[in-house]
């Protein structure tokens, strides 16, 4: 079995983010990591290979000047190989363009199963994986917390607000990982060494014959409003509770 993992390189969750004057440019500290949910997908893929049910795991990523770090992390965790599409055209790419790129790449390399994170932590669109499935003509189940391979299919569990849903999906399919699927490993030094030395092969967008969808151009950025200072309520619990209710009703207008 060959497993393709779609990965994205995103800013570290603790980076400093600012908006330049005019609100037209986003300034993000240049510290990137493998998207958290994609990490779950890589981990799952490597575990499947380690259990003997798959022979090969490879990661694919597409972006403008981004992806190397994500690919290297995937390799350090145990993926056998990685491929990157690095093109300026992908800078403000519509998720559809990314999906077309990754689908073309995955089609070229071959797959029996495609794993991905349920969404990226930067734009959180959560669209690419489902679009890839559609382009490949295969089913997609998003937000998987449990995955078990069976003959020609996968038994997956998704968490819903009112309970758990178990599905059997024929393979090949696209499955996206939700928190709880596994705990990603801390890469061993051998993996880190291997990833350090590797030159991740880049693939030209042209080679894949992808037609870019119209670019998404952000019109404006706004920082979230400053949180007002915290007010500490004094007094005995009963008094403080009464005061809290008063404020929620009369000042905040939420009760």
């Amino acid at each position: 079995m060959k497993i393709a993992v779609l990965v994205k390189e995103v800013p570290d969750l603790e980076v400093k983010v600012g908006v330049s004057d005019g609100g037209t440019e986003l300034e993000v500290e240049d510290r990137n990591v493998l998207n958290f949910f994609d990490e779950l997908a890589v981990e799952e893929a490597v575990r499947i290979r380690e259990s003997g049910l798959a022979a090969e795991v490879y990661c694919v990523s597409a972006g403008d000047g981004r992806g190397n770090e994500a690919a290297r992390r995937g390799l350090a965790m145990g993926a056998d190989s990685a491929f990157l599409v690095d093109d300026a055209v992908l800078a403000n790419a519509d998720p559809l363009t990314i999906a077309r790129t990754l689908a073309a790449l995955v089609e070229r390399e071959g797959y029996d199963l495609v794993l991905a994170g349920k969404q990226s932590t930067d734009d959180e669109s959560g669209l690419v994986a489902a679009m890839v499935a559609e382009l490949l003509g295969i089913p997609c189940v998003a937000g998987v917390v449990e995955l078990e391979l069976e003959e020609g299919s996968a038994r997956v569990v998704r968490e819903q607000p009112d309970g758990k849903e178990t599905l059997r999906v024929p393979l090949p399919a696209v499955l996206t990982a939700e928190k709880g699927l596994n705990t990603p490993r801390v890469p061993q030094v051998m993996g880190v060494m291997k990833a350090m030395k590797v030159q991740v092969p880049t693939v030209e967008l042209e080679e894949l014959g992808v037609e870019a969808a119209p670019e998404l151009r952000p019109r404006a950025y706004h920082l979230p409003p400053e949180r007002p200072p915290v007010k500490m309520l004094e007094g005995e619990p009963a008094e403080a509770a009464a005061e809290l209710v008063r404020r929620l009703r009369e000042e905040a207008g939420v009760l």
């Binding site: 801390v186 061993q188 030094v189 880190v192 060494m193 350090m196 030395k197």
Partner: protein
């Protein structure tokens, strides 16, 4: 002259930093509190394979260059310093002389398992009357038929009470001072080799430090780790520079974690209507600490880079160790001030960094000894500025 880390080194640093964040940092306070060696964490961390990284690949290592090793030590210093000390003991001091001089059987039995974390290693220099003054070592090694008999007591031994094997410094001729020193391998279970009193330390807790007693300990000939008798001090020079740089790197790690905590605190803590990070005197502390930290890192990396190039940067390594440690002591002091009274509370990190930092003053030579030596080199024109 390229001061930048290579892309590979940056990737390596991020990887080890991530491992420290996930595995060690969450346990640091608890390790300090209980002062118990965290065996589970030891096994978990060892399984990552970093313990052997400075040794060649045929031993399961990475043949990592000294600068890359410094990156690891710096990140370890950010986590639990006590734990870092045990790790570095297995990585360097406790295993080096076996790697250098031991026969196949010893390598199989002690060295290779230590690189996997399956055995705990240590090295024994210090005694009651001798630390920096290693020439005053009293632990005696007498030649006997088929081997050696060792007698003496070692103090301040990191991992001592837990160690599966130790590299012991003993003199074959006290009248020779440093020229009488030798390294001997002594394994746990050897009759007469017993752990003594355990030291309760102010900081670097979680690593067990104590006495090791040698009472007519008999070891076979092959346990002399060296080609010739009396060359121990010379052999020590092979790693002394690296050990000093390593200490500097640990100091940088401690300082970094302290300063980062303080940055967060200064954002959240308000006084007189503003976050304290907006006041000049607090900002001045940050400016000063950051500058000194950068300087420390440059010194450590520069010295490490020279070691990697096959040079013997004795002065530079001393400077790196001394400067980084003093920088760290200043930084942890300033950070506790930024925290105000909270810098005095066990609930917060700074008091731990403050306590841990002090221990770095001693290993690799006290600053009084180092400064005396360095000053003599300068004044005696043996070192031109």
């Amino acid at each position: 002259m390229d001061f930048k880390l290579t892309e590979e080194q940056e990737f390596f640093r991020r990887s080890i930093a991530d491992a420290v964040d996930r595995m060690i940092l969450p346990r640091a306070a608890e390790i300090d509190e209980t002062d118990e060696f965290p065996w589970d964490l030891w096994k978990e961390f060892s399984s990552l394979g970093y313990l052997g990284m400075r040794y060649p690949e045929e031993h399961g290592g990475m043949a990592a260059d000294p600068v890359t090793c410094m990156l690891l030590y710096e990140e370890l210093g950010r986590g639990s310093v006590g734990f870092a000390q045990s790790v570095t003991m297995n990585m360097l001091m406790g295993t080096y002389f076996l790697y250098r001089f031991a026969d196949e059987a010893i390598l199989e039995r002690c060295f290779l398992p230590a690189l996997q974390g399956e055995k705990v290693a240590t090295i024994c220099f210090t005694e009651d009357q001798s630390g920096s003054d290693i020439g005053a070592t009293r632990t005696r090694a007498e030649k006997v038929d088929g081997g050696w008999v060792l007698n003496g007591t070692k103090q301040w031994i990191t991992n001592g009470p837990l160690a599966d094997f130790a590299t012991v410094v003993a003199t074959t001729d006290p009248s020779q001072g440093v020229k009488g020193l030798n390294f001997f391998l002594v394994e746990k279970g050897t009759p007469g080799f017993e752990p003594g009193q355990i030291l309760e330390k102010l900081g670097c807790r979680g690593t067990v430090t104590g006495e090791l007693v040698l009472d007519n300990v008999r070891v076979p000939e092959e346990n002399l780790l060296g080609e010739e008798v009396g060359k121990g001090f010379l052999y020590l020079q092979e790693i002394l520079n690296e050990v000093r740089c390593m200490t500097g790197a640990l100091a940088i790690g401690i300082a970094r974690t302290a300063i980062r905590d303080a940055v967060e605190y200064a954002e959240k803590r308000s006084a007189f209507g503003r976050p304290i990070g907006k006041y000049q005197l607090i900002r001045s502390k940050f400016g000063q600490m950051a500058t000194e930290l950068e300087a420390s890192r440059l010194l450590v990396h520069s010295a490490a880079s020279k070691i990697g190039a096959g040079e013997n940067p004795r002065m530079e390594a001393m400077m790196a160790k001394m400067f980084s440690t003093e920088m760290c002591l200043n930084a942890v002091d300033e950070v506790t001030r930024i925290y105000g009274a909270n810098g005095f509370a066990k609930e917060y990190g700074p008091q731990r960094y403050f306590r841990d930092a002090r221990f770095l003053l001693y290993g690799g030579g006290t600053h009084e000894v180092l400064l005396n030596f360095m000053g003599k080199q300068v004044a005696g024109r043996d070192w031109r500025v």
